[in-house]
């Protein structure tokens, strides 16, 4: 157990922070930072809770009871929780969405022979998304609206990421909204992309993957949290600067084969919070009924969190024009 919201100071003077996150491409800098001693250098003994399939709603209790101090989450979970008086907030980002010349991180895919040409054509069709609550469904709905369609006529279906390819292939769903490495797999198999719903819905470089913490913890341990964020920032910078090392970490921590990882477009790691991006997500949530009203940004994002710098992409990443 992790105590009652307080962070434990160890014998060697470091402070233990337990985080819950799943090993995937996005969370590679956390692992890299641990491996390179970046967190330890800042006096943070970062520990990972074993990976789980649980959605944000199941992770929040762990923040509240102090078992973990930070948790990687879909950004929409935070306003949803805050609107129900649950004390969590966003303290940092993990990775930003971007489009490179040959691929994007997110994509909505259809079969090659499909008559669906645009998001508007999704009307009357079924789209598989990882989860009905959260940014997946929101982005598709907004992309349909922007394309001039009626999202109410699109049937959303929860299909977990690993099985989306099969359901699409078998015609159980007409389209799936997915991310890397599945996007690359589908493209290789000849599936067609309708575009990046995140970019369409939120504009370029939105941040959907964030780190959240309990408000009570940040209030009681602001120094620890600041130190942690500084360490995270350094880890992000290091990761962005060392794509090869990132690929090795991804390969090891996800146990994906080197072949797949080599072809993978790397995430654009971001440490600060993009408040505008959070607000856009809240707007979408309000528009599609997941939230009654937009919340003041200070209730959702820790006031001391730095603003994200989304202007200059890291050197290893080439942006689509």
């Amino acid at each position: 157990g992790g105590g009652d919201g307080g962070s434990a100071v160890n014998d060697d003077g470091t402070t233990t922070i337990t985080m819950s996150f799943t090993n995937n491409a996005n969370t590679a800098p956390l692992v890299l930072g641990m491996q390179k001693g970046i967190f330890r250098k800042h006096g943070i003994d970062l520990k990972q809770m074993p990976p789980s399939n649980a959605a944000g709603s199941s992770l929040v209790p762990l923040l509240l009871n102090g078992q973990v101090q930070a948790s990687v989450t879909d950004v929409t979970a935070v306003p949803a929780a805050v609107s129900k008086n649950i004390g969590v907030h966003v303290i940092a980002s993990v990775a930003a969405d971007y489009e490179s010349p040959d691929s994007s991180i997110f994509a909505t895919m259809v079969r090659a022979d499909s008559d669906i040409r645009s998001f508007k054509d999704l009307e009357g069709r079924t789209v598989g998304v990882n989860s009905l609550t959260g940014f997946w469904a929101l982005e598709v709905k907004e992309a349909v609206t922007k394309a001039g369609g009626d999202p109410a006529k699109v049937q959303m279906l929860a299909v977990d990421l690993p099985n989306q390819v099969a359901t699409l292939q078998q015609g159980r769903v007409d389209a799936v909204s997915t991310l890397q490495p599945f996007v690359a797999q589908l493209q290789q198999a000849g599936y067609r992309s309708l575009g990046d719903p995140a970019a369409i819905a939120l504009g370029p470089h939105s941040v959907g993957s964030t780190i959240m913490a309990a408000k009570s913890f940040t209030a009681e341990n602001p120094d620890t949290m600041r130190t942690f964020l500084r360490a995270w920032e350094e880890a992000v910078v290091y990761a962005n600067a060392h794509p090869d090392e990132v690929r090795v970490v991804i390969e090891q921590s996800t146990r994906t084969s080197a072949d797949v990882v080599r072809k993978l477009p790397l995430p654009w790691y971001v440490s600060g919070v993009s408040r505008s991006s959070v607000e856009k997500f809240m707007d979408l949530m309000v528009r599609y009924g997941d939230l009654d009203a937009s919340l003041p940004i200070d209730q959702v994002v820790w006031s001391e969190a730095a603003e994200a710098d989304l202007s200059t992409p890291p050197p290893g990443i080439s942006l689509a024009s």
Partner: protein, 286 residues
């Protein structure tokens, strides 16, 4: 009275008189029987694996991996310490959960089976709690207890508790009234009635219950690890499925299945020893 109807004819000379004294018999007969007993299930298993292999390679989508890929993955990872540690964690969760369920289920099963009042009192609460899956109230548990091994264990124990409770309940109901009367007349104490009359009557029911509960405890442990982020096979499964490692997913399913088979084997052995007297284990007559 014309012709002979039923004839019981004398034995040919083969009928070797068998006196009370010990007679040695060669044991060789047992060996082939033993092999035969193992061979049959092995053959059907191979056959079913073959069916899976063919189906997975032909009609099923590529995400459903053929058994050969899953086995290959298992082969590659047979020395993977992480995997073995995960299996160890899962098994320890299973063991503790099953023991807890066994104790609680037996005690409450006997109490509810033997005492109508206790049964009526508890049944309302029991029946309300039972149909609610742990997935639903997981956040509450995590909030109260955290994502700890204890949570995985207690939820797994709860799931395994029900089958044992019911089996014991019905076992108590099946005690032969004449055997019960006998025990009472001969002045056996309550503890002795439990030990010598109730327990053996319940045992066949309990044995089935334990086999059901053992698997449920195993599954519940894995699911709790998967959802709650507790170390074990479930946590490995969570990561691998998020990253689309299908061979690994099916490999872990195979591990779960094999654990089930092995644990069942252990219990079946134990049961055969304990229930030698029982008609199900008595020799087949004629």
């Amino acid at each position: 009275m014309t012709h002979a109807r039923t004839i019981v004819s004398p034995a040919p000379v083969t009928g070797r008189p068998l006196a009370a004294g010990p007679q040695r018999r060669v044991r060789t007969r047992h060996v082939p029987r033993r092999i035969e007993a193992a061979l049959l299930p092995a053959l059907t298993t191979v056959l079913l694996c073959g069916v899976w292999e063919v189906l997975a390679r032909t009609v099923l989508p590529p995400e459903v991996r053929p058994i050969s890929s899953a086995l290959a993955w298992l082969g590659q990872n047979s020395t993977n310490a992480e995997l073995w540690t995960a299996i160890g964690h899962t098994l320890s969760h299973w063991a503790v959960a099953l023991s807890l369920a066994l104790v609680a289920g037996t005690v409450l099963g006997v109490a509810t089976g033997a005492n109508g009042l206790v049964n009526s009192l508890l049944s309302g609460v029991f029946e309300f709690v039972r149909p609610i899956p742990a997935v639903v109230y997981l956040p509450l548990m995590l909030l109260l207890l955290g994502a700890t091994a204890e949570v995985a264990i207690s939820l797994a124990a709860l799931s395994a508790f029900w089958p044992i409770l019911f089996q014991v309940f019905y076992g108590v109901k099946s005690i032969d009234p004449i055997a019960r009367d006998t025990a009472r007349v001969f002045g056996l104490s309550r503890a002795q009635q439990l030990r010598y009359v109730a327990a053996p009557s319940i045992l066949p029911f309990l044995a089935t219950g334990v086999r059901i509960a053992s698997t449920i405890a195993l599954l519940a442990s894995i699911v709790m690890e998967l959802l709650g982020g507790v170390s074990g096979l479930g946590a490995v499964l969570a990561r691998d499925s998020y990253n689309g490692l299908y061979d690994a997913m099916y490999g872990i399913l195979v591990i779960a299945g094999c654990l089930g088979v092995i644990l069942n084997l252990v219990f079946a052995r134990l049961e055969r020893r304990l229930l030698r007297w029982h008609p199900g284990y008595r020799p087949v007559s004629a």
